[in-house]
Structures are given as structure tokens and as C-alpha cells.
């Protein structure tokens, strides 16, 4: 298993390098520089600024210097648009916000999705099964900003349970986490239901029932473990989706997380910030996928890591 992790981390470094190179080439192939903004400065000052951000060096030199700085010092540079902030500082501020939102959304998706899936598999064909699966299908087909819009109209304006936006209190995080997690709750519910139905028809479940175990024990201890496998392998894409979805949800609810920064950085051509965030997202995604693979191997003894 140790060897497996080392190999995967090696691939991660390669991927990060590819991402870095692609972003670098993209950024530098754009005509005009981030410094040529609305306010014109005199050529001398522009020259100074360029020297300060070392945009006057040849591209090859910039490429290696930036790479060395990122690898050796973990320093992603200074933001070009947000004054007095380095990219590292912006990430340090935004990451806890985005992470708590993402974790809550995933936790929500898992609890809701798993319980809905289990109930509809056990009570197959009942009204509960039908209505939950219909809701799940709707959840998959709606973009999350539409869900957010409907939820805001319902629970903020028509029936004022929650504040419309902002950050800092518990009530601020519930609606965004719901909107972010809803599509994944729907997917997980469907996956769990299919997995449960598969497992429930197997011999060892019949044996467990024949032993006289209660339905609760059989379902939670024997069946669920097998049914969890497709859900676990879906967690990788789900995490990626939550990361992406947070761009939208943070913008709607005015949450000061990384997603908002990323969109603004891309729109304003703030290269170091955008690059830093892309690298961060790649690392996150890779580590999460690694964790998913490891937990998969723990859940299913038949899976061999190599």
C-alpha cells in the first residue's frame, strides 16, 4: 500500500507540472499584460512595475523562476489585482471558508442520499420510493443556481427562515450547503438504491435473515457495506463537482471563499492568483481521489491496489 501511495503521488507531481505548464503557456500567449489596465501609467513606472513583477525577463527564465519559487518555497507569488495580498494569504483566508462549505455539503449529500437510497430500496415500489426517486431525478436535472434561486425565493423571501447571504453564522451556511450538496445527494440516493437492490437479492442476505437477525441488523451491517461501494467510487467525481459548484454557490450567497476569487481572478487576468488556485484545486482533487481509492480497498477486500 505504501508503494501505491508513493506511485500515485509521483503521478500527482507530473499532473501538477502539466497543469502549471499549460496555464503558463496560456497566460503568456495573451496579448496585453495584466498591468495594462484602465489607468495609464507613465512608461517609466510601467517599466518599474514590470521589473518588480519580473515580466521583463525572457519567458523561459520566468517559467523556471516561477516553477522554482513554487516548488522550493511554496510561494505562489503576489496577486496582481488585490492590493497588498500574496496568493498564499488569499488562499489562507478563503480556504477554510470554502472547505467548511464543501465538507458540510458533502456530509449533507451523504446523509440525505444514503438514507433516501436505503429507504427506497427496502420499501421498493412504495409511495416513498417513488416520490424520493422522482425528487432525486429532478435534483440531477437542475443546475444548482436554479435550485439556489428557487430556495432563496421560498426560504428567504416568502418564508424568511434564513438570511439571504453573508458569512459567519450557522444560519448563513445551511442554504448554500443544501444547494451545493443537493445534486450529489440525488446521485448518491440513486446509486445506493441500485446497489442495495443488487445486494438484497444475494444469498448471504437470505442466510442472514434465515439466521433470525432483525431486518435492521441485516440491512445496516450486512447489506449496506456491499451497497456502499458504488457510492464510494462516486465520491471522487462528487468532490470535483462540489469544488466546481462552489464557484456558483459562493457567488450567489456572497460567501468570501476561494470560488469567488477564482472567477474574479480569471476575469481580471490576475495570473498568479488564478494559477495558484488551479494548482490548489488539482492537488485537492488528486488527494481526495487517492483517499477514495484507499477507502475503496479497505471496504472491499477483493480490490488489490497496484
Amino acid at each position: 500500500m505504501g508503494w501505491f501511495i508513493i506511485k500515485r503521488l509521483g503521478w500527482m507531481l507530473l499532473t501538477l507540472w502539466v497543469v502549471y505548464s499549460v496555464s503558463f503557456v496560456l497566460m503568456r500567449s495573451v496579448p496585453g499584460s495584466p498591468l495594462s489596465a484602465e489607468r495609464k501609467v507613465s512608461p517609466e513606472i510601467e517599466q518599474n512595475l514590470k521589473r518588480r513583477y519580473r515580466l521583463d525577463q525572457p519567458l523561459g527564465v520566468q517559467y523556471w523562476d516561477d516553477l522554482r519559487r513554487i516548488v522550493l518555497h511554496g510561494d505562489l507569488g503576489a496577486s496582481l489585482k488585490i492590493q497588498d495580498f500574496s496568493v498564499n494569504e488569499i488562499i489562507a483566508q478563503g480556504f477554510p471558508v470554502s472547505a467548511s462549505l464543501g465538507i458540510l455539503a458533502l456530509a449533507f449529500a451523504l446523509t440525505l442520499g444514503l438514507s433516501a437510497g436505503i429507504i427506497s430500496a427496502v420499501r421498493r415500489g412504495s409511495l416513498a420510493d417513488f416520490s424520493m426517486m422522482t425528487i432525486a431525478t429532478i435534483g440531477i436535472a437542475l443546475p444548482n443556481f436554479v435550485i439556489a434561486g428557487i430556495v432563496i425565493i421560498l426560504f428567504v423571501f416568502l418564508w424568511p427562515l434564513f438570511p439571504p447571504g453573508g458569512w459567519g453564522r450557522i444560519s448563513n451556511i445551511i442554504l448554500p450547503a443544501f444547494c451545493l450538496g443537493a445534486p450529489y445527494a440525488a446521485y448518491i440516493a440513486r446509486l445506493t438504491r441500485t446497489g442495495m437492490l443488487d445486494v438484497l437479492s444475494q444469498d448471504y442476505i437470505r442466510t442472514a435473515f434465515a439466521k433470525g437477525l432483525s431486518e435492521r441488523t441485516v440491512i445496516l451491517r450486512h447489506a449496506l457495506r456491499g451497497a456502499l461501494l458504488p457510492v464510494v467510487s462516486f465520491l471522487g467525481p462528487a468532490i470535483a463537482g462540489v469544488l466546481t459548484g462552489s464557484l456558483v454557490v459562493e457567488k450567489i450567497f456572497g460567501i468570501p471563499g476561494l470560488g469567488v476569487h477564482f472567477v474574479n481572478a480569471a476575469l481580471q487576468l490576475d495570473y498568479p492568483l488564478a494559477m495558484g488556485l488551479v494548482l490548489l484545486y488539482t492537488t485537492l482533487l488528486y488527494v481526495m481521489n487517492l483517499l477514495v481509492d484507499l477507502s475503496y480497498a479497505i471496504l472491499d477486500p477483493r480490490v488489490k491496489l497496484h
Binding site: 503521478w11 500527482m12 507530473l14 499532473t15 502539466v18 497543469v19 499549460v22 496555464s23 496560456l26 497566460m27 495573451v30 496579448p31 496585453g32 431525478t137 429532478i138 440531477i140 436535472a141 437542475l142 443546475p143 443556481f145 436554479v146 439556489a148 434561486g149 428557487i150 432563496i152 425565493i153 428567504v156 423571501f157 416568502l158 439571504p164 470535483a240 469544488l243 466546481t244 464557484l247 456558483v248 457567488k251 450567489i252 477564482f262 472567477v263 480569471a266 476575469l267 487576468l269 488564478a274 488556485l277 488551479v278 484545486y281 488539482t282 482533487l285 488528486y286 481521489n289
Partner: protein, 386 residues
């Protein structure tokens, strides 16, 4: 031993043999083989949800193509005094489409309304096909059009008409971008699977690396770079607009899964017994490829196609939300829904601007998903003759 060396068989046994063969042949002719597609269609027809979805999608596509012919209000006509008018269906028809005077008589050679005229009417740039449809619509319906049964937006534009015009863009985006992904993915996967060995290994490793790149972020990056004025001018010179870029970029993301699926299928098909059997009875290479390999690939590809279009449409909506999708004054469902989310204020609830575009999007994605699931079941060879 060749036939000429064989001793001549007795006439009686020969004729008996011949009769047996003829009987066999007649029997064989009576058995009608059910092709994969006929069989699949039979099974699909039994799936009511999939058939309803298919019908809905066909009707929707037809309506989208024929939009200029329908009695709708001009989608860009702004009636500021009616801004945020709530949905109303009484009366069902109103005369809101004002056809300007003194035309088209001034130019008898050009029976279709001129572009300047159409712009003034609030339709935006149209091609020849749409202009002829519009001319037909004027002849049939005159100034009558549907009332705003889905309400009006911030500028008093009719949402119902905009939904139809948005359907054209959304469906086109979904279809074309998916086809781009399909072409790249199928060629890549087929080549990797066919060549096998080390080439296959390297090609699939590249796919693995690309899989773990959060492409959506790179795409946002690319599109925002392409959005800067300088690049826009450059692209306009080459005749590329943002929609084209969108197609290419989406194609570049969604081909990965397709490549994996097709490669897996090709690898397993190559060693499949029925391919071997076809080779043994002397089928030509072409026949094996087109008769045995391609149909088996095609079923996977079609299923994947119907399941990717909704993803692409969602992605377009997502980009529209970030202001990176379809450019105004063009409309797509994603853009319309985004406009709805933007005008949510505590002062008034303009629910129709969120609900109707969301509904249009959701129903279409529903239908595509159901149809995809239905096709997967119908084309599954294990379900054959059931």
C-alpha cells in the same frame, strides 16, 4: 484433395443430397433474422417513459427549428412599461408584434424582410432560412402573437418567446459540442484499442493524467482569456466567435470518458468469439469491421451521446451563470435562468424568471436522461429476444 479427384457420386444419392440442401435453404429463408436495431427498437417501444421522452425531444427540436414560424412576440422587443409583468394568459392572443409600415413593397425583388427591418422588429440577425420562416409567419398570423404566458423580464421582453429562441441555442450547443467530443473520443479510443501494446499504454496514461486535471477551471481560464478585447478582435478577424470556441473547449473535456469507453469496447471486441467465428467462415476484414465491430461500438456511443448532451447543456448553463457562456443579446436557457437569479430581490419575487427557464432545462435534461437509460437497456445484448 480437390473436387475433381472425387469419384462421381451415384445420381440417386446426389439428388437426395440436393433435396436435403434445398430443404435446408428453404427453411433458412423462412427464418428472419432480427437485426440488433430492430430488436432494440422493439424493446425501446415497450419502455413508456423512454418513448415519451423521445416524443418530447422530437417535438422540442421541431419547435426549436421552426421557432420563427410560431406566433411569438419578437424576443428582443423591449416594452419598458411592461417590465416584470407577471405571467398572464388572458387574452391568449394579443397584437403585440408591430410590423412597420411601407414594406416590403419598396423592393419587389426581395420578398423576404430585410435584415435592417428585422433588427427594428426585435428579432436580431437571422439567416436566410429563418427569414423565410418569418415571412411565412407574417403571412399566416400577421400581428397576432401569444400573450406573455411566462411573464416578462427586466426590459419587458416576452419570456415565452425568449424560451423558444433560447431552446435553439441550448440544443445546438449541447448537440454540436457533444459531437465534437464524440469525434475526438471515438478516434482516440479506437486507435488506442486497435493498436494495443505500448502505444495503447502511453495513450491511456495521457488520458489518466488529463482526467485528474480539474478542467473546468482551465476552461474558465481559457474563455476569460479569449474574452479580452485584443483576442476578441483577433478572433473576429479569423471568423471565430465564442460559440465555436465553446464547442472546441467542451469537446476537449468530454472526449476523455468516450475515449476510455470506446477503447475498452474495441479491446474486448477484438478477441470476441463471434469476431473469430466471422473470420473463420471467411468474412472480409471490411465486413467484420462494419458488420460486427461498428454496431457493437455504435450502441455504446449512442447511449453515451444521449447522456453527454445533458451534461454539456448543464455546463453551458454553468458558464452562462459566470458570464462566460452565450453572449448577449443571444439567449440560452442557462442565460435566462441566470437573468432570473440576478433579479431576485426582497422587494418583489419575479419567480417566473427562475422557474420557467429552470423548468425548460430540467424537462429536457430529464427526457435526455430517461432516453439514454432506455437506450442503454434496449441496446444491451444480454437483453436480446426478451
Amino acid at each position: 484433395m480437390t473436387e475433381t479427384e472425387q469419384p462421381p457420386a451415384l445420381p440417386s444419392t446426389q439428388s437426395a443430397e440436393l433435396q436435403r440442401y434445398e430443404r435446408l435453404l428453404a427453411e433458412a429463408e423462412q427464418i428472419q433474422g432480427i437485426s440488433l436495431w430492430r430488436d432494440a427498437w422493439r424493446r425501446l417501444r415497450k419502455n413508456r417513459v423512454a418513448m415519451i421522452s423521445l416524443g418530447y425531444l422530437i417535438v422540442l427540436s421541431l419547435l426549436a427549428v421552426l421557432t420563427p414560424l410560431l406566433p411569438l412576440q419578437p424576443p428582443r422587443q423591449q416594452i419598458t412599461k411592461l417590465a416584470f409583468q407577471a405571467p398572464t394568459a388572458s387574452p391568449l392572443f394579443i397584437r403585440e408584434y408591430k410590423i412597420a409600415e411601407n414594406e416590403p413593397a419598396e423592393n419587389p425583388d426581395e420578398p423576404l424582410p430585410t435584415q435592417a427591418k428585422i433588427d427594428a422588429d426585435g428579432f436580431g440577425p437571422l439567416n436566410w432560412f429563418d427569414r423565410s420562416l418569418l415571412a411565412a409567419r407574417r403571412a399566416i398570423f400577421g400581428e397576432w402573437c401569444f400573450n406573455s404566458i411566462c411573464g416578462r423580464d427586466r426590459l419587458g421582453r416576452d419570456l415565452f418567446a425568449r424560451l423558444f429562441w433560447g431552446a435553439r441555442v441550448s440544443l445546438l450547443v449541447g448537440l454540436v459540442a457533444t459531437l465534437v467530443a464524440l469525434v475526438i473520443g471515438v478516434s482516440y479510443g479506437a486507435i488506442a484499442g486497435y493498436l494495443g501494446g505500448r502505444v495503447d499504454n502511453v495513450m491511456m496514461r495521457i488520458v489518466d493524467v488529463m482526467y485528474s486535471i480539474p478542467f473546468i477551471f482551465v476552461v474558465i481560464f481559457i474563455i476569460s482569456i479569449l474574452n479580452t478585447e485584443d483576442v476578441k478582435a483577433l478572433m473576429a478577424k479569423w471568423g471565430i466567435d465564442r460559440l465555436t470556441v465553446f464547442f472546441l473547449v467542451v469537446g476537449a473535456i468530454f472526449w476523455l470518458t468516450m475515449a476510455r469507453v470506446v477503447r475498452g469496447q474495441v479491446v474486448s471486441l477484438r478477441n470476441e468469439q463471434f469476431v473469430e467465428a466471422a473470420r473463420v467462415i471467411g468474412a472480409s476484414r471490411r465486413r467484420i469491421i462494419f458488420r460486427h465491430v461498428v454496431p457493437n461500438l455504435l450502441s455504446v456511443v449512442i447511449v453515451y451521446l444521449t447522456l453527454t448532451i445533458p451534461q454539456v447543456m448543464l455546463f453551458e448553463a454553468f458558464l452562462s451563470f459566470l458570464g462566460l457562456g452565450v453572449e448577449r443579446p443571444d439567449v440560452s436557457w442557462g442565460l435566462l435562468a441566470n437573468e432570473g437569479v440576478e433579479v431576485i430581490t426582497p422587494v418583489r419575487t419575479v419567480w417566473w424568471m427562475v422557474v420557467y427557464p429552470g423548468l425548460a432545462l430540467a424537462m429536457t435534461l430529464f427526457a435526455l436522461n430517461f432516453l439514454g437509460d432506455g437506450l442503454r437497456d434496449a441496446l444491451d445484448p444480454r437483453m436480446k429476444n426478451r
